[in-house]
Amino acid sequence: MTEGQTGQSDIAPTGDAAADAAQPVAAPATAEEIAAVLAGKASVVAPALEMRGITKRFPGVLANDHIDLEIRPGEIHALLGENGAGKSTLMNILYGLLTPDEGEILIAGTQVKLRDPNDAIKRGIGMVHQHFMLVPVFTVAENVILGTETMANPIFIDAHAADRRIRDLAKSLGFSIDPSAIVGDLSVGLQQRIEILKALYRGAKVLILDEPTAVLTPQETVEIFAVLRRLAAEGTSIVFISHKLYEVLEIADRITVIRRGKVVGHADPKTATEEDLATMMVGRGVSLSVEKTPAKPGDVALAVSDLSVADDQGSRVVDGCSFEVRMGEIFGIAGVGGNGQDEMVEAITGLRRPLSGQVKMAGADVTAHSPRDLDHRGLAYIPADRQRYGLVLAFPVDDNLALTDYHEPPFSNYGVLVDSAFHERAQKLIPEFDIRTPSDSVAVGTLSGGNQQKVIVAREFSKPIKVLVADQPTRGLDVGSIEFIHKQIIAKRDAGTAVLLVSAELDEVLELSDRIGVMYRGKLVTVIDAKDADKDRIGLIMATGRTGATSETEAP
């Protein structure tokens, strides 16, 4: 901590023009700190930021209930909570996007009012949103300096100075970046680092990261963690929002757990276990492993033979895949994201026309049949991209719950909608699937990610279904929601549904599946009985496409 403190006083003078405004506020704190050090009280570290008794109400929801939060200089402070626990609301308050109903915010000991993000930025608070706020057609440099352009003269931006500063900043964080690269061409991991650069360029001393790993590959996660550790070592305080327990344990110095808008406790990552955190977060014991009985497979419900599919650019990303899913079993497909899983699922569910091959449901050829026909035949589908395919965010919850059968009775009579039927279904499904929403008439987009997913699950699971295709059913969800959705999937299996599960989370595939296939570069390289599955071996196949010593030579 003392390292962090000296680090911070080192970094303070490097603040740019944007941070100048923050200096009058920061100065007394630094002075206080110096005074504290001089007085021999160096062990007492003044918090970089303090939130006291923050309360925020929305119609029907108490999003934040007297939350206290204290962030020390140079620490990585994890804010852990379920979807909808109030983490994002709290951070939006800190970033000036929302105004709290009660409570106060202190930055370096001085009470501040944050009316909008500009206020927050001026006071050294930076935020990296889960969905990036970058202009894809602009260069890295243009994105970073947007709104804080340093002018070479009254007409032209000093591009060279900006490039230099960006390079230096990136270097100090342990990576290199080309300031003239177009942001839209860069990987998600790099885009995220540009967001961090953007915040630092504006002089951020406290950096908020809202679920930064949700969009990253495991490798990118490792890289961003290295960047964050370096940042913290140099004195930047980091608020790390997440619901992934192992990540929080890995990266955080301190953990604050929030449940239903309240701080329910703090944890020390050195001593806490995932189970401890899960219990605090959900408020009850959560089983992190799935309990299920052995499958009783019946007839083949879904048969895919020699399926090849092209992606949007026309390249063949699924190459001759064949497999069968029987009633009452879960067939899991493991694989690193982007190995053709999404395209294959879209071909099976009628969203994408395959190049060749056949899809059969209960013996009937349904290749390239319309999504509606497949729906009538008993196919339920949880799409990987819930906000794009699964929901109409601007529509209310009740409309979304009837998104695929609005045209049938009881929802429609001779083409006229029956509002009461929509409402009735919503009133039945909302408690049944534990969807946390103020009412069924609020836009689905206002719900948390987990509750949005529950809306899809509720809709798809409440149909009479024979085949369930679940693509990344729990991506981005908290443990409580994951447990719930896993139980629902198992229950469907036990009721005789054939389940095709696709997930980039190997643990999820291993825990749920009865048989496991591994996809690598568009091919189903192996199919293993879950009983014989070994995590390390499957992980290796996912990474290399090689199924074992014997077939190593034939790997692509």
């Binding site: 109030g86 729906d375 929901l391 601007a394 409309d399 206002t446």
Partner: protein, 382 residues
């Protein structure tokens, strides 16, 4: 539906106020009223300035006199109200046409061409002496609807079939319609007895009846109001409307849900064109009563303004069109009473639309509107 043509043209109708954006209906109403008030205030400032510049001196009372005359001219008596509603009638239908497109994610700026087609079809059928009685009027109106639908169907099918962007095709068809109908009205269908090129007058049977004795208020307003109700019902109370709105906000989800986006595009463009054509029909059967070869209108673009102010809601469109109707009906008496040029009213309309478009700025500027926004803002959070 954020879609891009090969040329890179991107129109995201989900950003149109009242469609994909949150904020709630009450918030929309408040900001709309605010936009109108601000538009009128800026108009008042402009009136004062124009008085000073025309050498009549600085007088803060002039805007009050002007607006008083404006209100009298549009609302004073049955005659004035009739005039307001007559002007509002084609604006309602043009606004509904644009709204209907917006709801399906389509930006129909071909209202002018569709209006002309509707007017022409109605004028030709209305002038044909083969029908008699009220049936003649009904047939003439339906002919106008059909003409507009035809002109909306073309960009619709081009979009569904080849992905041609409707903004490009509809605006081009505006010129095609004008020139084609100009040719037809001045040669093939020309009224030989008329001194200038126009089609024959519509027969008395086909004309829309006057609703109130002593005014010019014709039955077109009833057609417009009934249509507004039907459009509302179709959009919000039918399965087809559910599909149209889903396609409009999220075409991906529409496909997932088994909706046929291409079919919806063709149908919506056709109906949108039909609504504009209906506007042409009632204007022709109620006011113009014959198609002049050089018929220059601006209802297609007025319709966009009305749809924006009406927040893409059929009832909002009615309100917006009546407001614009009143402003236009009163503009003449304002000019007579105070000498303020009619053009001021056009500028006031433009200001109002500008404030509607600048809604996010309005919400930022006015604190108590900001706090209303928060439930929607939480969409990003929690």
């Amino acid at each position: 539906m954020p879609d891009a043509t090969p040329s890179g043209l991107t129109i995201d109708t989900t950003k149109v106020p009242g469609i994909g954006t949150g904020g709630g209906r009450r918030g929309l109403l408040v900001t709309t009223i605010l936009a109108i008030v601000l538009g009128l205030l800026l108009g008042a400032v402009l009136i004062v300035i124009s008085e000073v510049m025309s050498g009549r001196g600085f007088d803060l009372a002039v805007p009050f006199k002007a607006y008083q005359a404006l209100i009298e001219g549009s609302l004073k008596d049955a005659r004035a109200i009739g005039s307001t509603l007559n002007i509002a009638t084609p604006l309602i239908l043009s606004g509904l046409a644009v709204t209907f497109g917006f709801r399906a994610g389509l930006f129909n700026i071909g209202g002018n061409g569709q209006f002309l087609m509707g007017a022409f079809f109605a004028a030709i059928v209305g002038a044909a002496p083969i029908f008699q009685g009220p049936l003649h009027m009904v047939l003439a109106i339906l002919a106008g609807l059909l003409g507009g639908m035809l002109w909306g169907f073309i960009p619709g099918i081009l979009k569904a079939w080849r992905g041609a962007h409707e903004v490009v095709t509809t605006i081009m068809l505006n010129y095609v319609a004008y020139l084609l109908l100009n040719e037809l009205a001045s040669r093939v269908f020309r009224d030989p007895t008329a001194t200038f090129a126009k089609t024959r007058d519509v027969t008395a049977d086909a004309q829309l009846p006057i609703l109130i004795e002593g005014t010019r208020l014709h039955a077109g307003i009833l057609v417009a109001l009934l249509t507004a109700f039907l459009v509302w019902f179709l959009l919000f109370k039918t399965a087809l409307g559910f599909e149209i709105r889903t396609v409009g906000i999220n075409a991906f989800a529409a496909r997932y849900a088994g909706m046929k986006a291409a079919f919806i595009a063709v149908l919506t463009m056709s109906l949108s064109g039909g609504l504009a054509g209906l506007g042409g029909a009632v204007e022709n059967l109620g006011v113009t009563k014959g198609y002049p070869a050089e018929y220059i209108v601006n209802y297609g673009f007025d319709g966009i303004a009305v749809a924006l102010l009406g927040r893409s809601h059929p009832f909002g469109v009615v309100g917006a069109a009546v407001l614009f109707g009143a402003l236009r009906a009163g503009a003449g008496s304002m000019q007579r009473a105070t000498g303020i040029p009619i053009d001021i009213i056009t500028i006031v309309q433009a200001f109002i639309i500008l404030f509607v478009a600048a809604e996010p700025v309005l919400r930022r500027a006015v604190p108590w509107l900001r706090s209303r926004r928060t439930p929607a803002a939480s969409a990003a959070g929690a």
